[in-house]
Amino acid sequence: MDLKEWFASRQKRRDNPEVKQPLTTEEYCALWTQCFQCRELLYTRDLRGNLFVCPKCQYHFRISALDRIEQMVDEESFQELDAGLCSADPLQFVDTDPYPKRQEEATRKSGLKEAVVTGVGKILGRTAAIGVMDFGHFGGSMGSVVGEKVARLIEHAQKNKLPLIIISSSGGARMQEGILSLMQMAKTSSVLKSFSDAGLLYISVLTEPTYGGVTASFAMLGDLIIAEPGARIGFAGRRVIEQTIRQKLPADFQTAEYLFKHGQVDMVVERVKLAEVLAHLIDFHSGKRGDKVQTTQASGVKTSASRA
């Protein structure tokens, strides 16, 4: 299903909420979602309406790339790039299943060809190059295609002088592509170097969860880094660290708030405010060097700094 069809079917569901047929158990369960944090049983449609944030405890649920785009990007403004890119099987990798079979499975679950969707869209009217990772597809792991799509997105942003926004969510490198997946870290970082030297803005948004090779490459290289509340972010996984140091870690270890406390992210932004904050940051960094903020009032010069 491509992006247009997906939005169209979403629209249809929204226009026609009455369910005529008797529900299967699966459908019935899909109606309700239990909050991972406060255990409250939530009506899924309400949860969706609340951007998949628990209205009781503010737990930010993991969301798909397409849901994210729908929430954050102005309606009908998103033009996808490189939609046709999909994985090969360079190592002919087989663990308990062959890699191509796992890819099919991932696509069946997520409806996506790969773990990142890239394109150009508007955020409250501001045009940006936008990449959104999807943990629901192969654990958001980075293989050749994720690396390539991110690299091409950065190049597109540089060529068109657009701000770059990447929403990360990943378990790390795609093991089934071996060393080639590791090299995607070098590839994306290398392309970011040129982008950065061109003086363009990159905002990295870290969401539940972001780990391994993605954190240790483009996700941590934002000029500005935003994390979603409660998101777990790190290099090594909690279990690996506990096994290595043989001690229990604090409960809030590797959460967005923990990273914030340790100076690793600029801000923790609630989902409901994300688009607004991104728009503000884009505005703040646009225009020519030394430009002053245009004000309509003759008196009381309003500077960007005081607005922030």
């Binding site: 060393i179 090299m183 290398s190 490459s217 270890f253």
Partner: protein
């Protein structure tokens, strides 16, 4: 200077060789009493050589891993000392720490003055612990970064030696932002206009290896390995079994030859028969010769060409198809 006067400790797959060696020893003892068996002895020696060669000609990936992790394998300092007895070590990240798991210094090699950087494993238990078994903290990567900037400022080529299980997975490592320390090195290495040559001398473990591995030329010693995750980690995640390490080694294609065929490394450097730990001097020479050859090559390029060559090298990596 560290040396390898001690007898090489045999590995598990070398057991058949040991049996034959024991037999040779017995025959040698009888030789004085019974000169007739000299011919047998010669034949046994020939057999030994044959077996040794055939054993090393068909190593499994997990055997390469065992050699790469051999406790007597030469480490970064062993190379620097042999390349340049007058090499000067540089210390510290200038931000509050000096990670012993990362060594930086000024080294001369075949007429090239270079900034040398490498991960360091310890030899004694105390050293091992001090070096965190070759797993740098974020401070180690920042120490390397400082060395890269030094090289850039003075137009000196960079040579890195990689032998690490990976970046250290610890609590303070995370608090001090291990991810950022690695990521910024990837970015900054991509931007250098001086030549960079990296050699995987032992274990090339994941992002912790790549953080000093974004180079114009990536070389690997014959028995070195390079992978996205440790085979143990891969086996436990994908097979959910600690017994599948050999399968994981095989599936990941992590040996020097395989990495070369995947286009990720540029050359496989020959090791002494049996592995680098059998002859430090020869190994150090082989690596030096290969590094010098690549540096000679790269020094013909302009600074801008050096950078763009490195960037396009990594830009091309990957394997995919376009359905459109």
């Amino acid at each position: 200077m560290a040396n390898n006067d001690r007898k090489p400790v045999p590995l598990e797959f070398e057991q058949p060789l040991l049996a034959l060696a024991a037999q040779i020893e017995t025959v040698e003892k009888q030789l004085a009493d019974n000169p007739d068996i000299e011919e047998d002895l010669t034949r046994l020696h020939e057999q030994y050589e044959l077996l040794r060669r055939s054993l090393y000609a068909k190593l499994r990936p997990i055997d390469h891993l065992a050699i790469a992790r051999h406790p007597q394998r030469p480490y970064t300092r062993d190379y620097f000392e042999r390349w340049d007895p007058n090499w000067l070590e540089l210390h510290g990240d200038r931000k509050g720490a000096d990670d012993p798991a990362m060594v930086t210094g000024l080294v001369q090699l075949a007429g090239h003055k270079l900034v040398a950087v490498g991960t360091q494993k310890g030899r004694s238990l105390k050293d091992k612990q001090a070096c965190n078994f070759g797993m740098p903290q974020p401070e180690g990567y920042r120490k390397a970064l400082r060395a890269f900037h030094h090289a850039q400022k003075f137009g000196l080529p960079v040579v890195t030696l990689i032998d690490t299980p990976g970046a250290y997975p610890g609590m303070t490592a995370e608090e001090h932002n291990q991810s950022e320390a690695i990521a910024i090195n990837l970015l900054e290495l991509a931007g250098l206009t001086v030549p960079v040559v990296a050699v995987v001398t032992g274990e090339g473990g994941s992002g912790g290896a790549l953080a000093i591995g974004v180079a114009n030329r990536v070389l690997m010693l014959e028995h070195a390995v390079y992978s996205t995750i440790s085979p143990e980690g891969c086996a436990s995640i994908l097979w959910r079994s600690a017994d599948k390490v050999s399968e994981a080694c095989q599936a990941m294609k992590m040996t020097a030859r395989e990495i070369f065929h995947l286009g990720v490394s540029d050359e496989v450097i020959e090791e002494p028969l049996g592995g680098a730990h059998h002859d430090y001097a020869l190994t150090a020479n082989n690596v030096a010769a290969a590094v010098a050859r690549h540096l000679d090559d790269l020094c013909k390029l302009t600074p801008a060409q050096v950078r763009s060559a490195r960037q396009s090298k990594f830009r091309r990596m990957g394997s995919m198809q376009d359905a459109h």
